[in-house]
């Protein structure tokens, strides 16, 4: 049926063409070569918008003039279709010959310096003066293990602000060498992935706020102004992931507790409300780490699934508070009491942005009743966040976070006289602003703000990133703490700093 209709249309078209051509040529004969208005305009527009032939491109036909671009090579009617290999134009793209590291070794060299902006009674003005060389080796070992991959990443660090370089500890990452990754991953069964060894682990939905992510953080590096990647400290663990059509399961076993690299005073000073003193280089916190192999172990689990773009997850953890969360009432040492965590999260598109919500129940197992003033109370934690690109290249993210003490009354009743009581809730707002500038996104301005609703103290992280080339990058930034010395962020006020870094990647 459509065919007949089309035929009719064709016939009609032919008739119309004939008629109009007749009409046009009689007009032309009568009035000279001027074109009818509409057609003339059309032609002129064509000439204006018709692109010039790009140089070096064969045109497919000769009669193209203003009618469009030349055909790209490979589309010309008269030429054979070229094989991908014999395209000589690729030659121009080949990088110039130069000395290179072995292909599987990559990394960067960096110098980074930082200054305190307040007079710190405990530390020098220089907060950071380090030269760092990161080397990373990534090797497929599929011939030995199914889908096998070996990864090693290590940092050589020379830090001029540290007087004693002999104090090397591979576990804590102090000293001349910080081993970031040393792991083997493979797929023993189609639906199972294993990764064993030293590795960086992250999950959860928060932006610089962690609820169910119980893997070690390096807050010292974070506050000092090292690259963001150093916020995550490595774990020595085995990770087993199981994938099914319904849910995925991940189990991470850490045979010996890996604590946070928390601020203890050795690099950054702070007011310690527990001892009511300034902590600094000369009197860092005394800690007692749970460190029995297989006795002081940690297990973390996640069950998750992606439902049409909405990521749902449930989490469980059994181990210890990752930073000191109590003290030994006899020795005064800071301790890491036992902790279990249960939680859940969701993340997905909402409106034109990304929304996330996460909660966690922190079960402080050494203080179930909440009446031990020397051990952290059990808590509810909740996070809600939203991020959107408000205008092109300008993104804003906001988060609300609350930590709620479950047995606050018991805590208050048992607090020794003279100790200031904490509020039941600790609430933060965070605001993350990122502006990308310049034609090729070379310049990025960012500001991350933590604001405590209850204590009115701030933590500001402004930053400027600039890419000179693919290899050379510059970053400057600051960590600014303001507030009362007893406040969560305010106690770091003396450690406020500015820093700058230049990095060469290879």
């Amino acid at each position: 049926m459509f065919k007949t209709l089309r035929k009719q249309q064709h016939r009609a078209a032919a008739a119309a063409i004939f008629f109009i051509i007749l009409f046009a040529s009689s007009m032309a004969a009568a009035q000279g070569p001027a074109l009818p208005d509409g057609l003339g305009e059309k032609k002129q527009q064509d000439q204006e918008t018709g692109p010039a032939l790009p140089s070096g491109i064969d045109s497919g036909g000769e009669k193209q003039e203003s009618s469009g671009p030349g055909l790209p090579s490979g589309l010309g009617e008269d030429q054979g279709v070229p094989e991908p290999g014999d395209d000589d134009s690729l030659a121009g793209v080949r990088e110039p010959m130069k000395w290179r590291m072995p292909k599987s070794v990559k990394g960067y060299a960096e110098i980074r310096g930082g200054m305190r902006i307040h007079d710190d009674p405990v530390h020098d003005d220089a907060s950071l003066a380090e030269a760092r060389l990161q080397l990373s080796w990534d090797k497929r070992i599929a011939e030995y293990l199914p889908r096998g991959r070996f990864k090693a990443t290590g940092d050589l660090i020379f830090d001029a602000t540290v007087s004693d370089h002999d104090d090397a500890d591979i576990e804590e990452g102090t000293g001349l060498f910080d081993l970031r990754e040393f792991s083997v991953s493979f797929t023993p069964l189609d639906f199972v992935d294993i990764r064993a060894g030293r590795q960086i682990l992250t999950w959860g939905t928060g932006n610089l706020v962690f609820l169910n992510d119980m893997f070690p953080k390096d807050y010292q590096s974070f506050f000092l102004g090292r690259d963001l990647e150093y916020l995550k400290a490595p774990s020595d663990a085995i990770r087993a992931s199981f994938y099914t059509d319904i849910v995925n399961l991940e189990i991470i076993y850490t045979p010996r507790f890996d604590s946070d690299r928390f601020v203890d005073g050795s690099r950054l000073s702070f007011y310690d409300p527990a001892s009511q003193t300034m902590r600094g280089e000369d009197n860092p916190m005394d800690v007692r780490l749970p460190d029995d192999w297989f006795g002081d172990d940690e297990i973390a689990m996640r069950v998750y699934r992606n439902m049409e773009g909405y990521e749902l997850a449930a989490y469980g953890y059994q181990g210890f508070w990752k930073s000191p969360a109590g003290s030994d009432s006899v020795t005064g040492e800071r301790i890491f009491p036992e902790l279990s965590v249960l939680g859940a999260s969701i993340r997905g598109t909402l409106g034109e942005g990304i929304a996330n919500a996460e909660f966690a129940w922190y079960d402080s197992r050494d203080d179930r009743e909440g009446d031990d003033p020397f051990v952290e109370n059990s808590q509810w934690r909740f996070l809600a966040g939203y991020e959107q690109e408000l205008v092109t290249n300008f993104t804003m993210g906001v988060q609300y976070y609350v930590e709620y003490m479950i047995d606050h009354d018991a805590y208050k009743d048992n607090l020794p006289a003279g100790f200031p009581a904490r509020d039941r809730a600790r609430q933060w707002l965070t605001l993350d602003l990122t502006q990308t500038l310049m034609a090729q996104d070379q310049l990025v301005l960012s500001l991350f703000t933590f604001y405590s609703l209850d204590e009115n103290d701030f933590y500001l992280r402004p930053g400027v990133d600039y890419e000179f080339t693919d290899e050379w990058k510059f970053r400057a930034g600051a960590n600014i703490f303001t507030g009362n010395r007893t406040d969560f962020f305010g106690r770091f006020e003396e450690s406020s700093n500015v820093y700058a870094a230049v990095r060469y990647s290879f």
Binding site: K63, P69, E83, W203, E229, A439, Q440, D470, R503
Partner: protein, 288 residues
């Protein structure tokens, strides 16, 4: 003279039939059928973004700014059409799928973005934003990215996200502006002008193959400010494949050249490659 008359004939008949007929079959050109605008748009979309059920390619980007300074990006891109089997090949051999797709982009260079993975679930439905993820290996972080502005730079190049994954034809009105020896020339105007930076764009679509060979974007003053050009194509596994293309910023003079190599179609990439599992453990058998 013959060509001139032919042209007059075509244009006149276009004018005449615009009033009389639906633009299903526009006109005759030397006895050949000229397909409808819808068909040209659909076939061009398919040639540009939907060849084969899936595909993989190594991509080298050269980004050159107005002062001639050069940057590069190297990545492998995996693509899989999310096509229910019944939508595939309704007619024998005629694959008409232009629906949702998934993309997996694994960065190999420059050094500071090496091993980073960018994943997109592209949704053709206008009211559903694409889902986008970024995996940062140094932090083992799976980050979700807001997808609101598809017309911003893709990895710092002159290409936009939308140029890489394809602009939904439903977002524009299309008009066949001209037919030349080699090309169908389409004029495209956005249905929602407030959401895009162009006032219209013009596409030169190769008549024999439906490959969009050139696209020019115009601002409110009618000035062309951005131009996409295909510079080299090959036929691989019977699919016409762009091997080199260029995006120029006509205002600043900068441009980006994309070169494709090791292009393969119908590789059999499983759907679960486009999940968190493979963000964290890249499927090197498809990447290297």
């Amino acid at each position: 003279m013959k060509r001139y008359l032919l042209r007059v004939g075509i244009l006149a008949s276009v004018l005449a039939f615009a009033f009389v007929f639906q633009p299903a079959a526009l006109a005759q050109d030397g006895g050949e059928d000229i397909p409808s605008v819808e068909e040209i748009v659909e076939r061009a979309n398919r040639v540009a973004y939907y060849q084969g059920k899936d595909g993989r390619a190594d991509v080298q980007m050269r980004i050159v700014d107005s002062q001639g300074r050069e940057r590069s990006r190297r990545f492998t891109i995996l693509r899989r059409d999310k096509a229910p089997p019944e939508q595939r090949a309704e007619e024998a051999g005629a694959d008409r799928y232009t629906g949702d797709q998934k993309f997996y982009v694994y960065f190999k260079g420059p050094a500071d973005v090496r091993n980073t993975v960018f994943m997109v679930w592209k949704h053709v439905d206008e009211d559903t934003d694409d889902d986008r993820w970024l995996y940062l290996p140094a932090l083992d972080l799976v980050k979700r990215i807001a997808a609101s502005d598809k017309r911003s730079s893709f990895v710092g190049s002159h290409f936009f996200y939308e140029d890489v994954s394809g602009r939904n034809p439903e977002l524009d009105e299309h008009e066949l502006a001209d037919v030349t020896e080699n090309y169908f020339i389409l004029n495209n105007t956005p249905k929602k002008p407030g959401q895009v930076e162009f006032s219209r764009y013009r596409m030169w679509i190769h008549r024999d193959t439906y490959l969009p060979v050139q696209t020019e974007y115009y601002d409110d003053q009618g000035e062309a400010y951005r131009r996409y050009t295909v510079e080299n194509v090959s036929r691989l596994q019977d699919y016409l494949t762009v091997m080199r293309s260029r995006m120029e910023d006509l205002r600043s003079g900068g441009h980006t050249i994309i070169e494709y190599s090791d292009v393969e179609y119908d590789v059999g990439i499983p759907e679960d490659i486009f999940t968190e599992r493979y963000l964290r453990n890249p499927p090197m058998n498809y990447i290297e």
